[in-house]
């Protein structure tokens, strides 16, 4: 996969942690997912037909997920912007530090490009950082998907391609998780009038 595409995938993941508006964050995720599917299609030459199917699955995911997330956003309108726990600069700095940490600490995996490998692990950690630092439930859901895209990036980079059933199965599970998360978001919104998960902090020991 070309370094430019990998950079787009990584940069859009990092941008999700900074985006204030939910619509912008969804658009960034759409860009990331599209770049990922384009990257997969560029690798289909010389690979099996099953890999082509996996690339198609990623393309469907890139087109369908943002639409679903946008519909969910419309159904759970926020009365006003939810303030983040940390400022955008510190969030970006934290996520960038995690990406660098991944580049330094994760051992080289033969067969995949070092840049792809670091970007994949970096995206997974960025997804975790989004969940940890963003309060809106939708942003936390986006963090989950960014992390999953990190896995997909590494999966398509496997020499010869990984069994496409993993990709299909993982997408099925992702859709299931997003459906359940959507149900939760609607219930949280009904209960609190907002998707601000900061208000759900009653359970402590």
């Amino acid at each position: 996969m070309s370094p430019a595409l990998v950079t787009v995938i990584l940069a859009s993941g990092l941008a999700v942690i900074v985006a204030r508006r939910r619509s912008v964050a969804i658009a960034l995720l759409a860009v990331q997912s599209l770049a990922l599917s384009v990257g997969a299609f560029t690798l289909t030459g010389g690979r099996s037909a099953a890999f082509l199917v996996a690339s198609g699955v990623l393309a469907v995911k890139a087109l369908v997920l943002p639409v679903l997330l946008y519909a969910l956003m419309r159904r759970t309108r926020e009365p006003h912007l939810v303030a983040a726990a940390r400022g955008p600069v510190s969030r970006l700095a934290a996520a960038s530090a995690l990406v660098l940490l991944a580049a330094v600490t994760v051992p080289r995996i033969p067969g995949t490009g070092a840049y792809v490998e670091h970007a994949a692990v970096g995206l997974l950690l960025t997804g975790m950082a989004i969940v940890a630092t963003r309060r809106p439930a939708l942003h936390q859901l986006l963090g989950m998907i960014v992390a999953e895209n990190g896995c997909s990036l590494l999966a398509v980079a496997v020499p010869g391609g990984l069994a496409y059933l993993i990709e299909v199965g993982a997408l099925f599970d992702l859709v299931l998780a997003i459906t359940v998360a959507a149900l939760f978001m609607q219930r949280i919104h009904t209960l609190l009038g907002t998707g601000n998960t900061e208000l759900l902090r009653g359970l402590r020991d």
């Binding site: 099996s48 994760v106 051992p107 080289r108 995996i109 033969p110 067969g111 995949t112 994949a120 692990v121 997974l124 997804g127 975790m128 969940v131 439930a137 936390q140 859901l141 963090g143 989950m144 992390a147 999953e148 990190g150 896995c151 590494l154 999966a155 496997v158 020499p159 010869g160 391609g161 990984l162 069994a163 059933l165 993993i166 199965g169 993982a170 099925f172 599970d173 299931l176 998780a177 459906t179 359940v180 998360a181 149900l183 939760f184 219930r187 949280i188 209960l191 998960t197 759900l200 902090r201 009653g202 359970l203 020991d205």
Partner: protein
């Protein structure tokens, strides 16, 4: 009982009977697997976990009407069919995991359990239940993404020796190819996978969702989570350890399990000494017991693994009984910081006896099977040269024993003024 309840009861009996028959066949066949294919594995270890999930699931379905009866209103009645549908989906997925011969397939099914069980955790619709369900969904989904990354790395290791298809991720293929797999890649994959599964198992320090989800879920679901789901995911981690040990080095694989196990036990112990509602106390006890199972798997000797098998069964009995006993208890019958002695025995004899037996079993009070299993695990550790770890574990278990015994004496036998009702604010605190 509603139509949904009756239907669920009649459907649960053949499901449980089929699973138990399969488990009995697998266990009776001895140490050699009854069937070992690329997708399906039927062995004695899987049989044990299958039997546990079958029993706890059956009890959960049969006792669910008692839980649902406590809910009132048209919405509650309408949601019963939904409750049973999701409960069955969760239970069937749990029954499938011990039969999975393929790591990727096992991951997919475990991931699917997250969706159904998260919905069940939040079933009551209370604010706290929503918080617990959301936290559980997001944290375990992230953990399972980490585990997926580990599986992909293991898949890369297999691809490097020209095994590209999905069967390369079966436990049999991993065991067969272990000597050929590159050490560094396999180590990275193993650590990522186990760290990811640890979130789902609830091993410390990635256990944050566990006390909340167990305490807020309906009691039959709490029992399934604690007694069946967490041990079942542990079984997958155990199978991976066994398959990859030749590539990793037995010591390395064992160390990861022992580290998670000891951390879980040590973090759980202080909470077992604190006064808290019954289900929350049982949740922290789960953290301790998942730690003991991890340590036993890490020790890996025949003695320790026999202890693990007894522990899984004994823990399932004790924990399920505890959650079911807590089901009919109201807020004024819960130990809280302002009300540590609800004197349950004087007021609610049957739940008190159930809770007493549960806490005694979980504490390892003889003749509890957990006394035997913990002894076997500690002795197994000493036999494999882990004397220092075994001593730490034994000391921690002694403290845990005293903590649960204290909870039993204070909360069950305690003689607080009967019928005292706490102010809502005090209960909430």
């Amino acid at each position: 009982m509603t139509d949904a309840g009756r239907l669920a009861r009649w459907a649960a009996l053949p499901v449980a009977a089929g699973a138990l028959a399969l488990a009995a066949l697998a266990v009776a066949h001895g140490s050699r697997p009854l069937y070992d294919g690329s997708w399906l594995l039927l062995d004695d270890t899987g049989g044990l976990f299958l039997a546990v999930s079958a029993m706890v699931g059956l009890a959960g379905v049969l006792l669910s009407p008692a839980y649902l009866r406590g809910r009132e209103g048209a919405h509650a009645r309408g949601s019963e069919a939904w409750y049973y549908g999701v409960l069955f989906a969760f239970w069937l997925a749990l029954l499938a995991v011990p039969l999975c011969a393929n790591l990727a397939l096992a991951w997919l099914i475990i991931d699917a359990t997250t969706a159904s069980s998260a919905l069940l955790v939040a079933f009551s619709g209370r604010r706290e239940a929503l918080e617990a369900g959301w936290k559980y969904l997001i944290l375990t989904a992230l953990g399972l993404s980490l585990a997926l990354l580990g599986i992909i790395v293991i898949g890369i290791a297999q691809a490097l020796i020209h095994h590209h298809d999905l069967s390369a991720l079966s436990f049999g293929a991993l065991r067969r190819d272990a000597d050929l797999l590159p050490h560094g890649t396999i180590l990275a994959g193993f650590v990522l996978l186990i760290a990811g599964l640890a979130v789902k198992i609830g091993w410390a320090p990635v256990h944050n969702w566990l006390p909340d989800a167990h305490s807020e879920a309906p009691a039959p679901v709490s029992a399934l989570l604690s007694a069946a789901l967490l041990p079942t995911v542990t079984l997958v981690a155990w199978r991976v350890k066994d398959a990859l040990a030749p590539a990793l080095g037995a010591r390395t694989a064992a160390t990861v399990f022992i580290a998670f196990g000891v951390a879980s036990i040590l973090i759980a112990i202080p909470f077992l000494w604190r006064t808290m509602p019954w289900k929350r106390l049982l949740a922290y006890s789960t953290l301790e017991h998942m730690g003991i199972i991890a340590v036993g798997i890490g020790f890996g000797s025949r003695l320790a693994l026999t202890g693990v098998a007894i522990h899984v069964a004994g823990h399932a009995f004790g924990k399920a009984l505890g959650f079911y006993s807590a089901m009919p208890l109201g807020p004024d019958e819960q130990p809280t910081p302002g009300h540590p002695r609800p004197g349950l025995l004087a007021r609610r004899r049957l739940p008190a006896i159930g809770m007493g037996i549960s806490l005694g079993t979980l504490a390892g009070l003889p003749p509890s099977p957990l006394f035997v299993s913990e002894l076997l695990i500690v002795l197994g550790g000493i036999a494999t040269g882990h004397a220092a770890v075994s001593i730490v574990v034994a000391a921690a278990l002694a403290l845990g024993f005293l903590g649960l015994l204290h909870a039993m004496l204070e909360g069950v036998v305690g003689d607080d003024a009967p019928g005292r009702v706490l102010p809502a604010a005090e209960v909430a605190s």
